[in-house]
Structures are given as structure tokens and as C-alpha cells.
């Protein structure tokens, strides 16, 4: 077998046009406001542990422009404000690497100011935010760490250490400006109380899981699509924190502006991470939560959709879901463009188990049936005509309230429904 010359890549001439527009829009003088003039710290979050107090806040796009005189969000840079009070008797070190292991340096950010007269002011302004590490006993110090942009919810750690001790604070700080998918769903009103089944016995619960629909449907409730091969059990807030911690991005609801952003991302290969996803249906409604996790560019991402199921298990909420790995974009007759998915959907399911485990947000997992096997020789098709094959199993994943180490994750053998 020989391979012919690879097809030519799409031309990127209009990427330059987009950049030129941005340059015109981004060029501005250096007129920062002081930190007290910008009320972003109204949303600050504080944690205290063993003599260390950490308070953080994340300015949104407009507040960042006010604070630094530059549209840093357009450059995919997001400042995180951190204040640390050292109430111990020893010196401590703050490690910005824990906030973002690719954090930007002050001079790098200052260099984004284009006018040279303004740049000199900017350098002084940014440098005052400090680059060093030490905080003496009794001191309170504060500054900004310049991180990669996250919209929706910003999740990060603040790591502090000294010769005797270490402190790790995990923060989830909401950032205004993104109309997220699940923001529109009122989870409490999805089901009436008498519609919810409460299971405590594993065998009964397993049977109920097996009877849940095999696959998603289209909006008319007719055609069967991607397999529902995930079950997630836990407190809703813990599940939400878990997926954010495991690097999943919330999805923006479809609007004219976000549609435009998706198109730009697809055409320029840029990383617009929050593009809306198409709707799939279970229980007669579209997904309650859609998440995505970008790999190299928008054409390489994993999609993950969840629906709240009308049941609880041992008092915790139960969600059913679908996950797919995009491996390219293809044109279909049903939608204008769609993502070609990896036909080995079990591989993607196993990836999610590992992804959650390595982010310490998985405590137990099991497998149950219900999808129906489709061997590689006779694959089934999803709603956009992509084939997939599967062993027919659903992965059941328990999300803990506290981080769980890898060695403490338990496999539960649910292969025998009576067990």
C-alpha cells in the first residue's frame, strides 16, 4: 500500500483579517484604575487553614480592562487577585505555579501595551504586582497572577509552603460573562417528588440502570443516536466541582455571538473553548449540562453531556450521560458541520474514568449493561451517521465530596445484577 500526497490544508488568509480587526480594537492608551476603584473584590472568596488566610477574586473582562488598561481577556490572559495573610510565626512561600503552571510574567503582560510611552508606565504598574515568593510572619501581601483564560468558573489552587508545613487551598470562583448551558436549567423543577424513585438496594438499582434508555434521541424523539454509557452518582455540587477540576469547560448556550465565535475558531484553528454543542435528547429534553474538554484545537475535543435521572441511589443524585471524542470535522446533510467521533466509544468511556481518577475526583466505579453490544463488525450509527462499536456496558462512577487518592479508588463488581 502506498500513500498519496496529503491534501492541502485550508488557507488561512482571513486569520490575518481577524487579527487586524483586533489590533484596531485593542490599541488603547494605558489608563488603569486603582484596585479600589474596580469593585471585583465584592465577589472575593476566603479560606483559612492553620494560620494562613487566603482571599482571592477574579476580575471579568471589563474589570480587567479597567484595572490594567489593556483587554487582557482578548489575549487569553486572566488575572487572579490573591491576598495572603501569614498568621504563623514562620516565613512562608507562595507558589504561583500552583495557580497556573504556565503563568505569565509581569513584563510579558506589560509588553502587550503597544504605545511605547504607555508601555513604560505599564511596566512599572505590572511589576508592582511582584514576582517573588516570601511572606514574613504577621504580614499580609497581595498581588495578581496572570493565568490562562477560563470563563464560567475559574478553578485553581493556592499552594503555600515552608520548611515545616504545606498548605493547599482549592478555589472555585465564578466569573461573570458566560451564559452557561446549565445556568438555564432549574434542576429542582425537572421532576415532581412522586416521579423520583429512591433506591438503597444495589440489585434493584442495577436493574433500574439497565432499563434506562440505551441511547440519545433527536428532538422529535425518533432516531436513536450516541449510546448513554455513563452513570454518575454524587451530590450535584460535588459533580460540578469534579468536572471543573478535571479540566472540563462549561458550554455556552447557543446565541448569535457564540455561533460567530465557533465559526472563527473552526476557521482559524484557534482555541475558543466554550462553543455551543448541538442538542441531544433523553427523557424528552435536551441535555441538562454539556461540557467539553479541548485537546489541540476546536476540532479535537471531547464532548460530555449529562441528564439528571428520575432516581436517587443511597440518597445521592444519579445522572446518565454520553461522551464522545471528536477526531475531525465532517460535513453532513443533517447539520452544516459536525464533529466526526471516534467509533471506539468504549475507549472514550475508559478515558473519562482515568481523567476523573487522575484528578482525584473518583471514589468508586462499576459497569452495568443497558447500552446493548455492537461489535466492530456490525457497528451502529449515531444521529449524524457516524458509526460506533461498543461492548454495551455503562460505566458507573461515584464522585466523592473530598479528593480521593488513586490507591483508594474501589472497583465494584456489578457484573452480576443480583450481586
Amino acid at each position: 500500500m502506498t500513500r498519496q500526497a496529503s491534501p492541502t490544508r485550508p488557507k488561512r488568509w482571513f486569520a490575518g483579517t481577524v487579527l487586524a480587526l483586533c489590533l484596531a480594537g485593542c490599541a488603547s492608551g494605558f489608563k488603569p484604575k486603582t484596585i479600589d476603584q474596580v469593585p471585583f473584590r465584592d465577589r472575593s472568596v476566603t479560606q483559612v487553614e492553620n494560620g494562613i488566610r487566603v482571599t482571592t477574586a477574579v476580575p471579568d473582562a471589563g474589570e480587567t480592562r479597567d484595572l490594567f488598561g489593556i483587554s487582557l481577556y482578548r489575549k487569553r490572559i486572566q488575572p487572579v487577585w490573591i491576598e495572603i495573610e501569614n498568621m504563623t510565626a514562620e516565613d512562608i512561600w507562595f507558589l504561583p505555579f500552583g495557580v497556573d503552571s504556565d503563568y505569565h510574567t509581569p513584563m510579558e503582560v506589560a509588553a502587550l501595551t503597544r504605545k511605547s510611552s504607555a508601555r513604560q508606565q505599564a511596566e512599572q504598574h505590572f511589576l508592582r504586582n511582584g514576582v517573588n515568593l516570601g511572606i514574613r510572619p504577621g504580614e499580609t501581601r497581595s498581588g495578581f497572577v496572570f493565568t490562562e483564560l477560563d470563563q464560567g468558573t475559574k478553578a485553581f489552587n493556592v499552594d503555600v509552603f515552608n520548611d515545616d508545613d504545606t498548605w493547599q487551598f482549592t478555589f472555585f470562583v465564578p466569573v461573570p460573562g458566560l451564559a452557561t448551558d446549565h445556568g438555564n436549567v432549574d434542576f429542582k423543577s425537572l421532576y415532581a417528588d412522586d416521579q423520583i424513585s429512591h433506591y438503597t438496594d444495589a440489585a434493584e438499582f442495577i436493574r433500574a440502570l439497565q432499563q434506562l434508555p440505551c441511547c440519545v434521541k433527536d428532538s422529535k424523539g425518533e432516531n436513536f443516536g450516541d449510546p448513554l454509557n455513563l452513570v454518575i452518582i454524587g451530590e450535584p455540587l460535588d459533580i460540578y466541582y469534579a468536572v471543573i477540576r478535571a479540566d472540563w469547560d462549561e458550554t455556552e448556550v447557543v446565541s448569535a455571538a457564540s455561533g460567530l465565535r465557533t465559526a472563527m475558531s473552526f476557521l482559524t484553528g484557534g482555541k475558543y473553548r466554550y462553543s455551543p454543542v448541538s442538542s441531544l435528547y433523553v427523557f424528552g429534553r435536551r441535555q441538562d449540562i454539556a461540557l467539553q474538554r479541548i485537546r489541540e484545537n476546536i476540532n479535537e475535543r471531547n464532548h460530555f453531556r449529562l441528564w439528571l435521572a428520575p432516581m436517587t441511589f443511597q440518597g445521592q443524585s444519579v445522572w446518565i450521560g454520553q461522551i464522545s471524542r471528536d477526531i475531525g470535522v465532517r460535513f453532513t446533510t443533517k447539520t452544516i458541520t459536525t464533529h466526526k467521533i471516534d467509533p471506539d466509544v468504549d475507549e472514550t468511556r475508559e478515558f473519562l474514568i482515568e481523567n476523573l481518577a487522575y484528578n482525584q475526583v473518583l471514589s468508586r466505579f462499576a459497569y452495568v449493561g443497558g447500552v446493548g453490544a455492537a461489535p466492530i463488525e456490525s457497528p451502529r450509527g449515531n444521529l449524524t451517521g457516524d458509526p460506533y462499536f461498543t461492548d454495551g456496558l455503562r460505566a458507573v462512577m461515584w464522585i466523592p465530596a473530598k479528593p480521593t487518592d488513586l490507591q483508594d479508588i474501589r472497583y465494584v463488581d456489578w457484573s452480576d445484577p443480583e450481586g
Partner: protein, 371 residues
């Protein structure tokens, strides 16, 4: 036509590691081997296949976690899909089948052995990765640092034993070493030795192999001999650097570079390596700019080692070669950088050590963070 995996010699150079439960062998395929095995130049697409074999000596099922080797690994059919162009229908399904069949499986039955390929992102220079295998109880975790065929690092001809004669070397004990470190030259020079270059702001204590392991484990990348020769030379102890290592941010907009010189010091079993760390950033396009804030670069490098679990001790030394930021920013002086003059001394650890076990030397207090 494809080359049979059984006939390929990467299996012979595979390195093995084991504990009581699991044995793992692994090898990284070079570009030519990759093309021979898969019939496609995967390196061109940034994909580097790692071959591995896992033997499960326990009585329970073992599971290999693919994300432990590369958290953004490529799935086998994803690699096949990327290369679908130019095949006939029959050829394409043959190729898909081959990728699927050669992929490393996740599960290994008790007493069995399974082998296959994991499709990882390409690494220039030596390849560092983990292989975690789960069964009952604590997982078995192995760290591999493997040579990639076809890559010659800039330090290939470096020989720590022959750089200095016996008379040139001075031995120090714990008491004397701090003063000796303080007395080390502040800066590199040009070739003539007359013009002062950039600061030497980091010092690493450990053997050559320990230094290499610590660098690779912390995510620093080797520089090829060819690439190193294209860099502007810096001199110390009358010679060019012994090695250059780099780290490029995942977004590609930041580049950190460390140059090392072996110092003429003996300190117990250890050697001392003087380092110069610099940061470059990219502002759109490909123009790289030097970040004049060399202290930022120094602190970043320290944290990179710390989070790479490659350190056992850290000490700060205040220095006299201070270039105040104000003077630099107001263009009152003519240096390309500014610095608080502090230098970091880092003791390397051959085995992974968590932050909780780090010993902080009771020398100078570190410079302060923030306002």
C-alpha cells in the same frame, strides 16, 4: 508494505522495570521506525508511538492507565482518521484495523502479558513518561526516561571527569560551601571574558545523572547539538555552556532556557552546576523577546523543579550584583535586564520527593511577594 512488529529491533532495546506484581518494558520509536511500522510519517503530525509490554504476575485483573503516559494521548482510531486521505476503501479499512490491533490494551489478565502501542505527543530529545498499573491495593508506578533514536543532544561529548584537572578542583565541606557558592562569578561573559553577560542566578547540587533525571522529570527538554550551536554563546570558566535545556509553555507563547556550567568544586559526593535561566516570550508572530525580569525566570525554574518533585533542599543567597528595576524601567542604566541579585541553590533528588519533604536552608530570607 508494513514492517512486522516482531522483526523490529525496538523490542530489543526496550527497557524493563518491575515490582513484585507487574513487569513493564517500553521503547520509543524513532521517526524512521515509526514510518516502517505504520507506513505513515506520524512524527510529521506530532505523534510519537511508545511500544510497551505489561506482564501481570498477580491473581487479579490489572488495568493500565493510558493517561499516566500522556494525559492528552491520541486514540488509535483518531490516528487512523487523521491519515485517512489517499487510501482506497480497502486500504483504509486495512489501516484502521492495523491501528486498532496494534494499540496497547488497557486490561491484562492474571498471569498474562500484553503489548502494543500508545500514541503520545512528540517529545524532542529524551522521552520521559510514566506507566501506572492498577490491580488490588496501591498502583504500580514506573517512570521511564528513554532515548529516542536519531536525536543527538548538545552534551553528547561532555565528560564531567575530564573538564578539570585535579589541581583545578577544590573540595568543600558543609561549613565552607556557602561562602564558596557566594563567591562564584555573578555573570557569564563574552568569549574575550571582558564584557559581562547575563546573571548566573541558579546553582544545582548533584551528580551529572541526577541533574539529567531532575531536568527531564520536571519537563525540561534537551537541545540538539545542531540547535545549541545556533545560539548566541555565553562563556564561564573560559568555556561555552556544557548544556542547554528548555521548556516551552503549552500555548507556545513562553520559552524558558537554562544553560549549565560544571563548577570547579567538589562537595562530598556531589558536584555543583552553575545555571543561567532566561525567559523569552512571543507576542504574536514568531518574534521572541527576552524578558528583562530575570528574577521571574529564576523563580519559575525553581517551582518547575519543585513541582517536578526533583528537589530535596532549597537555599537563597543574597548577592551584590543588584540592578534595580526602577533604574532599568526609567532607562537610567544600560543593561538588558534587572535583578534583585538573589541566587537560588537547589539540591537535586534522584527519587521523587513531595513538597512536604523539602528542607529550606537557614541562609538568607527569600525576597518578598506582592504588595
Amino acid at each position: 508494505m508494513y514492517e512486522a512488529v516482531e522483526r523490529s529491533d525496538f523490542r530489543e532495546r526496550a527497557e524493563s522495570q518491575s515490582d513484585a506484581r507487574v513487569q513493564v518494558s517500553a521503547a520509543v520509536l524513532g521517526r524512521e521506525e515509526t514510518t516502517a511500522v505504520f507506513g505513515i510519517d506520524l512524527y510529521k503530525q506530532g505523534i510519537q508511538p511508545v511500544w510497551m509490554e505489561i506482564r501481570n504476575s498477580t491473581n487479579s485483573l490489572a488495568r493500565y492507565a493510558v493517561v499516566s503516559t500522556d494525559r492528552y494521548y491520541f486514540s488509535p482510531l483518531e490516528v487512523a482518521y487523521k491519515n485517512r486521505g489517499g487510501y482506497s476503501d480497502e486500504g483504509r479499512s486495512e489501516m484502521e484495523e492495523r491501528f486498532n490491533k496494534l494499540a496497547m490494551p488497557r486490561y491484562v489478565d492474571p498471569g498474562e502479558s500484553r503489548s502494543g502501542f500508545v500514541f503520545t505527543h512528540i517529545a524532542a530529545g529524551a522521552k520521559g513518561f510514566n506507566v501506572d498499573v492498577f490491580g488490588s491495593g496501591a498502583p504500580s508506578s514506573f517512570t521511564f526516561l528513554l532515548r529516542v533514536p536519531g536525536f543527538v543532544p548538545d552534551y553528547a561529548n561532555f565528560d564531567a571527569a575530564s573538564i578539570y584537572s585535579a589541581e583545578e578542583l577544590t573540595a568543600y565541606d558543609d561549613e565552607q560551601v556557602v561562602d564558596a557558592l557566594r563567591a562564584m562569578p555573578c555573570c557569564s561573559t563574552d568569549q574575550s571574558g571582558d564584557t559581562a553577560g547575563e546573571p548566573v542566578n541558579i546553582m544545582l547540587v548533584g551528580s551529572g545523572p541526577e541533574l539529567l533525571k531532575a531536568l527531564l522529570r520536571s519537563g525540561w527538554i534537551e537541545t540538539s547539538a545542531k540547535e545549541a550551536a545556533e545560539q548566541q554563546p555565553q562563556f564561564l570558566f573560559g568555556r561555552m555552556q556544557d548544556a542547554i535545556f528548555r521548556y516551552k509553555s503549552s500555548a507556545g507563547d513562553s520559552l524558558y532556557e537554562i544553560r549549565f556550567w560544571l563548577a570547579p568544586m567538589l562537595y562530598g559526593q556531589d558536584r555543583v552546576w552553575l545555571g543561567q535561566i532566561k525567559h523569552f516570550y512571543v507576542l504574536g508572530g514568531s518574534l521572541r523577546r527576552f524578558d528583562p525580569d530575570v528574577d521571574s525566570a529564576r523563580n519559575f525554574a525553581m517551582q518547575k523543579f519543585l513541582y517536578g518533585q526533583a528537589l530535596q533542599s532549597i537555599g537563597w543567597l543574597a548577592g551584590k550584583a543588584v540592578v534595580p528595576a526602577e533604574s532599568f524601567l526609567e532607562r537610567l542604566i544600560n543593561t538588558p535586564y534587572f535583578t534583585d541579585g538573589y541566587r537560588l541553590v537547589l539540591w537535586l533528588s534522584a527519587e521523587p520527593l513531595s513538597v512536604a519533604n523539602i528542607d529550606v536552608k537557614d541562609w538568607d530570607l527569600p525576597p518578598r511577594w506582592g504588595l
